[in-house]
Subunit: 346 residues, 2 copies
């Protein structure tokens, strides 16, 4: 059996802090028993919660600190007040020192990204890390990146996103040459802004051994699962992600309203409740919780700040899987192996 995976948790991050992180870790441990945890945060808060989960307690170690990054701290404030001392920083630093394989935080995204860059540094030739998400599709799942870190990525950065996304897809989906598409407002070469058009030209003209370049894809290709990896600049990617999540909730709400409007429909619901439960599970945003920070010398997973213990557990399991896949080595191997594309790397 492989050695256990050690996961450093920012136990104080997120809207609910340790009250979600500790039970979330306990759920993840049931499903992935070979995890060891380092819990960074206030021992007075964490220890009583841990006492309720004996198996987790046996697999965990608390590292006390009473400095925490707040959800509304600006990245610069967080760095000033929380560098070295905060639970968020220390979870990331455990990855840097090699004590942990991966760090997970539900804390403020901007602060987590700033601290991750400062502590772990970016992997050459990447200058701006990205956040990748796993997007449920009609065909299964796709990788979408960037979903919020690289606001205004240029053509070279979009090409690097393609390389990192392909490495992630090979690891997660076990596909030799994943297909990669560039998110755009149309599929014709003349469509889009300058960065997308130029990135499209670079990807067309420089064949990669790491992936197959599909061409431009549109917003509705995300849900169809047209490609394994969808590359986009972070502003549009974040808006697409939240628009899709919002639409799924909106349709679910229409469905509830339609079902409750008539007696016959409520009877029908009783017969079909197994199907509705399956649908509900399929649409549960907690199942795909977890943004993967890419382009750093170490893996950091961002959990949604407002999630519950089940959602946090999904982020922990994602962290585990990424470590098992050897994600960092796979990305590091990918980047220098593409001399044609390296010429545009920034």
């Amino acid at each position: 059996m492989a050695a256990p995976i050690t996961i450093a948790l920012d136990a104080m991050g997120g809207d609910f802090g340790a009250s979600v992180v500790v039970p979330g870790a306990a759920i993840a441990l049931e499903r992935r028993p070979d995890i060891r945890f380092i819990l960074h945060g206030d021992e007075n808060v964490i220890a009583p919660l841990l006492a309720k989960h004996p198996a987790l307690k046996a697999a965990s170690e608390i590292r006390h600190t009473d400095v925490f990054v707040k959800m509304d701290d600006k990245p610069s404030q967080a760095l000033r007040a929380g560098r070295y001392k905060s639970s968020m920083w220390q979870a990331i630093e455990a990855v840097k020192t090699g004590e942990a394989h991966v760090a997970v935080s539900a804390g403020n995204t901007g602060a987590l990204m700033a601290m991750s860059m400062f502590c772990l540094k970016t992997m050459a030739p990447i200058d701006r890390p990205a956040i990748a998400g796993i997007w449920p599709t009609l065909r299964g799942e796709s990788i979408v990146l960037d979903i919020g870190a690289t606001i205004g990525a240029d053509a070279g950065q979009l090409v690097n996103l393609a390389l990192m996304g392909a490495a992630l897809a090979r690891a997660v989906f076990d596909i030799e040459r994943p297909s990669v598409g560039l998110l755009n407002v149309g599929v014709e070469e003349i469509k889009g802004n300058e960065a997308v058009k130029e990135a499209g030209r670079l990807l067309r003209e420089n064949e990669s051994r790491q992936f197959t370049y599909h061409g431009f894809v549109e917003g509705d290709d995300l849900g169809k699962g047209t490609v394994d990896v969808v590359v986009t600049e972070g502003f549009a990617g974040n808006i697409a992600l939240k628009a899709a999540e919002g639409t799924a909730r909106q349709v679910a709400s229409y469905l509830r309203a339609a079902i409750s409007r008539s007696f016959m429909a409520r009877i029908g619901y009783l017969f079909a409740r197994g199907a509705f439960a399956a649908l509900k599970e399929k649409l549960d945003p907690r199942r795909s919780n977890g943004g993967i920070f890419l382009g750093l010398n170490g893996i950091v997973i961002k959990s949604h700040g407002g999630t519950d213990a089940y959602g946090f557990a999904a982020a922990v399991e994602l962290a585990y899987d990424m470590s098992r896949f050897g994600l960092i080595d796979r990305i590091r191997d990918t980047l220098p192996q593409t001399p044609a594309l390296d010429t545009v790397a920034v």
Copy 2:
């Protein structure tokens, strides 16, 4: 009774041309009997179709031309080959000359926008027209603009979108001071790209009599209906729109799969089929077909190119409603009445 509305149709536009445009116009005429149509296109194609719809025939006039813009023509090609002569141009020109109140085309968006700008010209101080859509929300409907015309809008252009969107919302929803939000990746002032941050500052600091500025909204606020008008640059807006449409289709597909998986669920479906029919109608993309070109000296409505007669009828009805509302005059009245914001107009 008010005078009839005359609508100029590009009868050859769209994936299916007159075979969708003519029956679509017939459906719209049943619901809005005081429309007169001018059908621009090939008389040999249009006349036999029109013969099947006597009421429409009585309300229509054919203007023959055998020049058509193709769906994959670049805007420059379309202008070169189709200016003055094509069915698309002549439909727009009928608005310019005052023969028609509004033009509708299911043709290629880029060509339609280029011809509309060339023929109708933009309304001062607007330099780039926008495409607005009506977005179904949990609270009813919102206006979203731009959904594909102004790729890379700057701060001043975003402020103009707010003004035009507010005028449209006043017309469509009959609200005195609509609420306006700027689409962003977070609600805090420091979030987003430079254009969005600067537009947010301008809108915060310059109160408008035309609308209430709500602040930043995120992708999931679109479906919630948090504000009456969502302002965004066209690249992100187009991607958000298509991601939402794709997600709605994805959820509907999950639902069909869940229902058909078990006998009990299929029984349940029979009881609840009224509810499913209502849901299906609610999610029907044909109901909200029609992009409204804003910022021109005349109204042009873009129908989805791949829609059927019911979808095209929705675009015709939207065209009718916009004319009845006196949209152009309302926008024209709005723009100069806001001296504080005029200073940033481009």
